[in-house]
């Protein structure tokens, strides 16, 4: 019986080795079909990441790679300890714990790998039945998809990486005494030891009293741009606001920037008045007297028509009123740069227009107001300028236009701002995919 078990075990082990070898061979060709080096299939751990890239599931691929590495390392440590220490109870406990941890990580990796197989199936345009095959008999689909010319990925990794991006020209924005000057060379992020560009070459100046519309498709880098401008996330840039350097003097200048996020992030069980009083205590200078704080809160409530609701809990307010409270919180410190991320989301046309009118009034007081909105046309008459950000071919956020509304219409040949966005958006989201054309056109016109 023992001999049969050993034979069975050895056969299973050998079979496993052969199937793995076939799978890696198949993956070699799959990687090549996706534009990557085939030999990645032979590199333990890293192949998980590369397959994730082929599947358009890079985060999942990265995680499976990390999980594979740690589960193997932990199991290796457990085995080493087990061999060395024999019957020591304390070490046995550690070995057991490490083994359980390793198994847990393997289980998590298995789940994430299913997601990668799903992605790969989508890239190859096959139905989900293939996911089961990939999960349980990986060698079969790997060889089939790798060797057969019938199986072609609809999308290649090299499309993203190697194509030439639109022309990048160095420039600089004019420094304004009281306004905002943005000279953003690049904003990068390190992802899995790899440098990624999020934004490049955005140079613009905005004078005080201007209300600016920030347009761009999803992932064009609007929020990244605003975070960089407000100093919240530093970029390779020089941001000057009223003569002060935002990055060098962030501690003192952060109160000159008001940032109203897209979501109404407030404690909904608090009253309007208390919320604004707390915001005032946090944002106003330390020496501001309690009386002055109250006065300022009263003023802001008056501006946004919140006085009748001062004792109401935030949760009892309408969507429009909540937005007003959220914006009022930022206006309390009387910032010179006011940034609003989709303040009109969830509001009907009338309410959205009323809110934008209030923002216009704030701009008319000599402040710079930058607004992101996805429905600009209903309020476009209230804006002075427009910034258009778009993703170039290398998927980096770039400045496609900055100027007045009228200039934008001429530049893009579109009347509607929503059409402008559609022009620069990729085809996958229903756009015309002309971002590179306008990025190049704008840079050439500007720095000619």
């Amino acid at each position: 019986m023992d001999y049969i078990l050993i034979l069975l075990f050895n056969t299973t082990t050998w079979l496993g080795c052969v199937l793995s070898a076939l799978r890696y061979a198949g993956l070699w060709f799959i990687l090549r079909k996706s534009g990557l080096k085939g030999w990645w299939a032979l590199v333990p751990f890293a192949r998980d990441y590369q397959i994730g890239r082929c599947a358009g599931r890079e985060p999942e691929g990265r995680l499976t790679c990390i999980l594979a590495f740690f589960s193997t390392a932990i199991q290796f440590t457990a085995n080493a300890l087990d061999h060395r220490t024999g019957q020591d109870e304390a070490i046995s406990g550690v070995v057991l714990s490490l083994t359980i941890l390793s198994l847990t990580l393997r289980l998590i990796r298995f789940i994430y790998q299913i997601r990668v197989w799903e992605g790969l199936t989508e890239v190859y345009g096959k139905n989900r039945t293939w996911v089961r095959l990939w999960t349980f008999f990986g060698a079969v689909p790997a060889l089939l998809w790798g060797l057969s010319p019938k199986y072609v990925p609809q999308w290649k990794v090299e499309d993203i990486k190697n194509e030439l991006a639109a022309v990048v020209r160095n420039g600089s924005a004019k420094e304004l005494k009281d306004g905002l000057s943005v000279n953003l060379r690049e904003r990068t992020a390190i992802e899995f030891f790899e440098k990624k560009y999020l934004l490049r070459n955005v140079h613009l100046s905005i004078a005080p009293g201007r209300m600016v519309l920030l347009l761009g498709g999803s992932g064009a880098g609007k929020t990244v741009f605003l975070d960089a401008v407000s100093g919240y996330e530093k970029a390779d840039a020089e941001i000057l606001l009223a003569g002060g350097n935002m990055y060098k003097q962030y501690k003192s200048m952060q109160y000159q920037v008001g940032y109203a996020p897209q979501k109404d992030t407030m404690r909904v069980k608090d009253t309007v008045y208390n919320t604004l009083m707390d915001a005032a205590a946090l944002r106003l200078p330390k020496e501001t007297s309690a009386e002055d704080r109250k006065k300022r809160v009263e003023e802001v409530m008056e501006i946004f028509g919140l006085t009748p609701t001062r004792t109401h809990l935030i949760e009892k307010l309408s969507g429009g009123q909540r937005k007003r409270v959220s914006i009022a919180m930022e206006l309390i410190s009387n910032p010179s740069l006011f940034i609003l991320d989709e303040p009109d989301s969830g509001l009907d046309g009338v309410m959205a227009r009323e809110l934008m009118k209030e923002l216009r009034r704030i701009a008319d007081q000599g402040k710079i107001v930058i607004v992101i909105t996805h429905t600009p046309d209903r309020v476009i008459d209230l804006f002075d300028d427009v910034i258009v950000l778009a993703k170039d071919r290398s998927r980096v956020g770039r400045l496609a236009f900055f100027g007045t509304i009228g200039e934008a219409r001429t530049f893009f040949g579109k009347e509607s701002m929503e059409d402008v966005v559609r022009t620069v958006n990729p085809k996958s989201v229903g756009g015309e995919e002309r971002a590179d054309e306008f990025i190049t056109k704008f840079e050439e016109a500007r720095y000619a």
């Binding site: 109870e89 304390a90 070490i91 046995s92 406990g93 550690v94 929020t223 990244v224 919240y232 996330e233 003097q249 501690k251 003192s252 952060q254 109160y255 940032y259 996020p261 979501k263 992030t265 407030m266 404690r267 069980k269 608090d270 009253t271 208390n274 707390d278 915001a279 205590a281 946090l282 944002r283 106003l284 200078p285 330390k286 020496e287 501001t288 002055d292 704080r293 006065k295 300022r296 003023e299 809990l313 919180m329 930022e330 009387n334």
Partner: protein, 420 residues
């Protein structure tokens, strides 16, 4: 617009100064106390009363009375405190994560935010502890009068329960700062609780290698402090005797040798044996029966004695007469007589109830002996009734609280790096 012309500036940098760390704490403290009223955070107080009531009803007859009962009650009270602490704060940060991010962007110091939470949670834990102790007294848990540190045991015990609750609260605060959503926090919580309860080492004997893990738990120090204050080591153990009583009518059987029986029956110092040995046995014999027994013994002169008996007239030979002797005499005779030596290794089947055995050994003395032995076996130096021991546990709990508070602060300092 606020007039900032009169605002004092930092002399060196000419900057307008905003609220620093210390002066931001009251802002958040005020907010948290408002939330206590508006966001129904007060619900944790009646919940503490209900939990304390349920536990107190179970422990009222055993806490401070018996060794095992004291340990179990200490464990139960520790669980109550850990539970209260964890559920006070497990959701408080993750439910307002976006708000924290926004406030941080607007100049909020994370340390001020965490400090405000700790002060607020300390008040909450203090109230819960007071409620727990009060409910225990109300239900009828008999606390001894004097504590180790104060003249009131309730105060000493309250301090311990507060420290356990607060340390658990700080731990849950850290979990809440790690979790991005309330769902995630509530998923992690059971693992934290199970780890705390299993690795306290109070109810389950842990393998040696679990020691370092156990040292990390709040429950270990909490349980130790409560058990030590309740003077666990000097409480009478009852479990072993109760087990004997439960088995009173259970028959126990087995084979014993004649030698073992004789040896047992020779122990005059055992009261039951002594009484047995004093008992007088009476039996009637006829001279003829006696002659028969002597003849069978084959001893020297037995034949002559038998012939003498045979010579007796019929009436006299068959006339019975009483012989009187004690059990003790019989046992001693059997132990000494060579004629019985060959029988001593002989095995005899015996069957007795536990009650009969205990009664044979003497009920009171046996009970006392069982208690003494169990007490010796159950003595645990970890639960030593001393100020040093309890103060050590308190210090550990304070340290755990501080470490968790520091971890919460460090974790939240990275809140801006959340996936955007």
């Amino acid at each position: 617009m606020p007039d900032t012309t009169g605002v004092r500036t930092d002399k060196k940098t000419m900057r307008i100064r905003h609220r620093g760390r210390e002066s931001q704490v009251p802002i958040y403290l005020g907010k948290l106390f408002r939330m206590f009223v508006y966001q129904n955070d007060w619900k944790v107080l009646p919940m503490a009363a209900v939990i304390a009531g349920l536990v107190a009803m179970v422990i009222r007859n055993i806490f401070f009375r018996t060794m095992e009962g004291t340990l179990m009650s200490a464990f139960a009270l520790t669980c109550v405190a850990v539970w209260n602490g964890c559920f006070n704060s497990i959701q408080v940060i993750c439910r307002e994560r976006d708000v924290v991010k926004r406030d941080h962007r607007s100049g909020m110091h994370i340390s001020s935010y965490v400090a405000a939470h700790l002060i607020y949670q300390a008040v909450l834990c203090l109230l819960q502890t007071a409620i727990t102790v009060y409910v225990c007294l109300l239900v009828g848990v008999q606390f001894p009068e004097n504590g180790l540190f104060t003249p009131w045991m309730t105060v000493d015990m309250g301090i311990t329960l507060f420290l356990i609750t607060f340390a658990s609260d700080a731990l849950a605060l850290w979990v809440s700062s790690l979790a991005h959503t309330t769902t995630a926090a509530m998923t992690i919580m059971p693992f934290v609780l199970i780890f705390q309860l299993v690795f306290s080492g109070g109810m389950l004997t842990l393998p040696e290698w679990c020691g370092p893990l156990s040292d990390l738990t709040i429950s270990k120090y909490g349980l130790t402090a409560v058990a030590a204050q309740a003077d666990y080591n000097n409480r009478p153990p009852v479990i072993a005797w109760n087990s004997v009583v439960r088995m009173w009518n259970t028959k126990v059987g087995g084979t014993v040798t004649v030698d073992q029986i004789l040896d047992f029956l020779s122990k005059d110092e055992i009261p039951a044996v002594h009484n047995l040995r004093e008992e007088t046995l009476r039996k009637s014999f006829t001279p003829r029966q006696i002659a028969g027994m002597i003849r069978e013994s084959g001893e020297e002169g037995a034949q002559a004695f038998a012939m003498l008996m045979d010579a007796l007239p019929e009436e006299a030979a068959d006339k019975p007469f009483d012989l009187s002797f004690t059990v003790g005499d019989t046992v001693d005779y059997m132990a000494k007589e060579p004629v019985f030596q060959s029988e001593r290794e002989k095995e005899v089947n015996m069957s007795m109830t536990v009650g009969e055995i205990v009664d044979a050994l003497g009920r009171d003395k046996t009970r006392e002996q069982i208690r003494q032995k169990t007490m010796e076996a159950s003595y645990n130096a970890v639960y030593e009734y001393s100020r040093v021991n309890v103060a050590g546990c308190w210090a550990s709990l304070v340290l755990i609280t501080l470490v968790n508070a520091a971890l919460t602060t460090i974790t939240l300092e990275f809140i801006d790096r959340d996936k955007r």
